[in-house]
Symmetry: C2
Subunit: 140 residues, 2 copies
DNA sequence: GTAATTGCAAACGGTTTGCGATCTC
DNA sequence: GAGATCGCAAACCGTTTGCAATTAC
């Protein structure tokens, strides 16, 4: 099961790395199709799985929204502003977090965690018309 | 839009409160159908939404799994052992967490967060045959 | 050469929704 | 009686999968 550097796989990774936000699978598909029109959704999802298994990308699971993908798998936590549809990386390391959790009698070992913080982002960019709907503009 | 205390709504809330674990919508539906055979899934989901809006229950979103529901909406974080299929409440308050997040220039206000920790649970109960598959046994 | 990967299209699974009938207040 | 809620069944939507053809190594 040795993974191969397919044209499709390379393109998908490029697209994620080039995006200045964290795109969804559908956005990745649309962007990649510009240079490879026959690229199928199935291939995108399969490659996202492979790339994640190899820890070359990270999947961000946001309740009630499609998953997003991050070119930097070291990120651990995210801030989501649903108003603006924007998402920001947060600095937080696993060691600090595990200290924060009161010792729970049932926990033997912690492997991973998923932390998403919801709230309102500052308007600094928006009020200059730079950020609102940026993702869609980029895709258009 | 004043919410009414329907038989169905009451039953669904009872089921969640009576469960000694955090059931999924499907489990709630199955359990509730024992005393109300015509209860439909749609009604379960609609009521779960209403109860959540009224902050009488909490929905637990676990990546890659169906949502679970908690009779105590004050819970903020959960520990999931995928091996055993078990889930535990963790003590963690929003204030402590927000201190932990390094000040991020884009954050204006934090409304809510979703924290799920994955790992392995201790075997204490399992080895006495008390916990493994408990949910299914209960449903059977 | 061969095993991994692809495109296609159909299926999946959890959740939502439109409808006319039925309840709660 | 008005409007919230119900049961039913079909639709939804992000994601997965079976298959025959193609490609990377």
């Amino acid at each position: 099961m040795k993974s191969r550097l397919t044209q499709q796989r390379k393109l998908i990774l490029d697209v994620i790395q080039a995006a200045c936000y964290h795109p969804t699978a559908e956005q990745i598909h649309q962007l990649a199709q510009k240079s490879m029109p026959n690229l199928s959704v199935g291939t995108v999802y399969r490659n996202l799985d492979v790339l994640r298994d190899e820890k070359r990308i990270k999947r961000i699971d946001i309740p009630g929204e499609p998953a997003r993908f991050d070119a930097d798998p070291s990120h651990k936590a995210y801030f989501v502003c649903r108003d603006k549809g924007s998402i920001y990386d947060l600095d937080l390391d696993a060691a600090t977090l595990s200290k924060l959790l009161k010792d729970h009698p049932a926990i033997q070992r912690i492997d991973d965690f998923s932390l998403v913080v919801f709230g309102t982002a500052k308007d600094t960019m928006t009020e200059r018309g730079m950020r609102k709907g940026r993702v869609n503009q980029f895709l258009n």
